[in-house]
Symmetry: C2
Subunit: 225 residues, 2 copies
C-alpha cells in the first residue's frame, strides 16, 4: 500500500533551472536538485520532457540552478512554475546574467546560483534526469534563507504543477469531510484550488483585490468547480 502523504516527508528546496543562450532562454521552477558526487562536483535534476527548458538543455548542453529565497514573490512562481516558455518570454523584465558557458542565470530572489555543463541525460519515461558537472557557483545574498518546498506548500499554499516529478493527483489525497460548504474554486491560470471547507474566509467573501497565492492571478480568474 502506498500512502501518498509520505511524499510530503521528503525535503526539497525550490530553484529556477534555466538553459539556452542570449537569443533564446527559458527557465522553470524545480524542486528536484541534488548533489551526486563530491569529486568531481556533480549534480542531478529531474526535468519533465514537456518542459521547454528540457529541449534547451539537450540542445545547449548546459544549465543553471538559481536557489530561491524564502520571500520569493508569487509572481516568480506564476511565471516560472505555471506558464510555458513556448508561449511567453519568461525572461522579459527578469534580471539575467550569462554564465561562463553562455547559459542564462536568473538573479531575481536568488540567494545563490550554480552553473553546469551537461554530462549525461538519462531517460526516465515522462522525465529526463540531467547530470551536470559544476563549472561555476556563487553566493549572491548570504543574509537570506533558501525557501523549502515544505514552506512553499504549507505557508504559501503552493503545490506541484502537473509536469513536476512530485505532482500528486489530488483525488488520491481527498478525505471525506462533513462541513456544509464544500464549494471549490479553481484558478484558470495555474490550477490552484481554493476550498471553502479548508479556509476561514469563504471564497465569495474574499476582497476583490485578493490574488491567487500560487501564481498571482486575479480573483475574477477563478471558476467554481
Amino acid at each position: 500500500m502506498i500512502d501518498f502523504e509520505t511524499f510530503f516527508k521528503i525535503s526539497y528546496g525550490l530553484y529556477i533551472v534555466s538553459s539556452g543562450d542570449k537569443n533564446s532562454g527559458n527557465g522553470y521552477i524545480a524542486n528536484t536538485v541534488f548533489q551526486v558526487t563530491s569529486t568531481p562536483a556533480r549534480f542531478v535534476i529531474s526535468c519533465n520532457k514537456n518542459n521547454y527548458t528540457s529541449e534547451l538543455i539537450q540542445k545547449h548542453k548546459t544549465f543553471s540552478v538559481s536557489v530561491l529565497e524564502i520571500n520569493t514573490p508569487s509572481e516568480i512562481f506564476g511565471i516560472f512554475g505555471y506558464k510555458c516558455g513556448k508561449d511567453i518570454d519568461k525572461f522579459k523584465g527578469i534580471n539575467i546574467k550569462y554564465g561562463e558557458t553562455g547559459v542564462p542565470i536568473v538573479l531575481n530572489s536568488s540567494v545563490a546560483y550554480l552553473e553546469f555543463k551537461l554530462e549525461q541525460a538519462i531517460d526516465m519515461g515522462t522525465h529526463t534526469m540531467f547530470i551536470g558537472e559544476l563549472v561555476n557557483a556563487e553566493v549572491l545574498d548570504d543574509t537570506k534563507e533558501p525557501i523549502t518546498y515544505e514552506y512553499y506548500r504549507t505557508v504559501k499554499k503552493g503545490f506541484s504543477p502537473k509536469n513536476a516529478p512530485t505532482y500528486i493527483d489530488k483525488a488520491k489525497l481527498e478525505k471525506p469531510r462533513n462541513e456544509i460548504d464544500n464549494k471549490k474554486y479553481e484558478c484558470d491560470l495555474c490550477g490552484y484550488i481554493y476550498e471553502n471547507s479548508k479556509e476561514t474566509i469563504k471564497f465569495n467573501d474574499l476582497p476583490d483585490d485578493w490574488t491567487c497565492p500560487v501564481c498571482g492571478a486575479e480573483k475574477s480568474e477563478f471558476t467554481e468547480i
Copy 2:
C-alpha cells in the same frame, strides 16, 4: 570559480537508507533522496560505492528509506552515519520491520518510510545512483516534523562524512581568522572538529560529560590537532 558555500544552499532531508534481508541487513544516513517521476512513482538516491549498503542493494535489488524526525538523537547519526556495517551490526537494538520485498526498514526516530524495488543502477564514479520503483509507503508519526540537513548542520552542528555526495573538504571553506585561540579538537570516532575560535566555550572548559554533537563520542575521545 566555484564557491563551495553555495552547496549549503541546496535543501535536503535526512534519511536512513537500508537494504538486505533478515540474515544480513545494513543502513546508512543519506541526504540525497528525491522523486524522479510521478507515474510510476520512482525515486533516486546517490550512494557511495564504499558503503556496505550499496553492496546489499546491488545484491538484493531492493532498498528502504526511513525519514528521520527533527529530534533524532545523536546516537542514531553516530551508528548509521559514522560507522561501517562491515565492522558492526548496526541493527543491534534497533527497531526493524521487514517490508513486502523482505527489505529491513528502520523505525526508530522515523516519521515515515518508503520501500523500493531496484529498477536501475547508474555508475557515477565514486557513487552509484539507484533508481527505485515505490512498492510501499507509510506515515508512522504525523505529529513530528522531518529533520532537514540544514537543521542538522546549523543546530546540531553535524556535517557530511567522507562518503557522502555532499562531503566538503574543510580546507576549501577555511577563512583566515584573527582570534588568539585557534585550537582545534577532532573527534577520533567521526572526525567532527570542535574549534575554540567558533565556540563560546573553550574545549577545555566543556564539562566532562559533554559528548560529540555528531556521534555521541566522549570528550576523552577528542584529540587536539
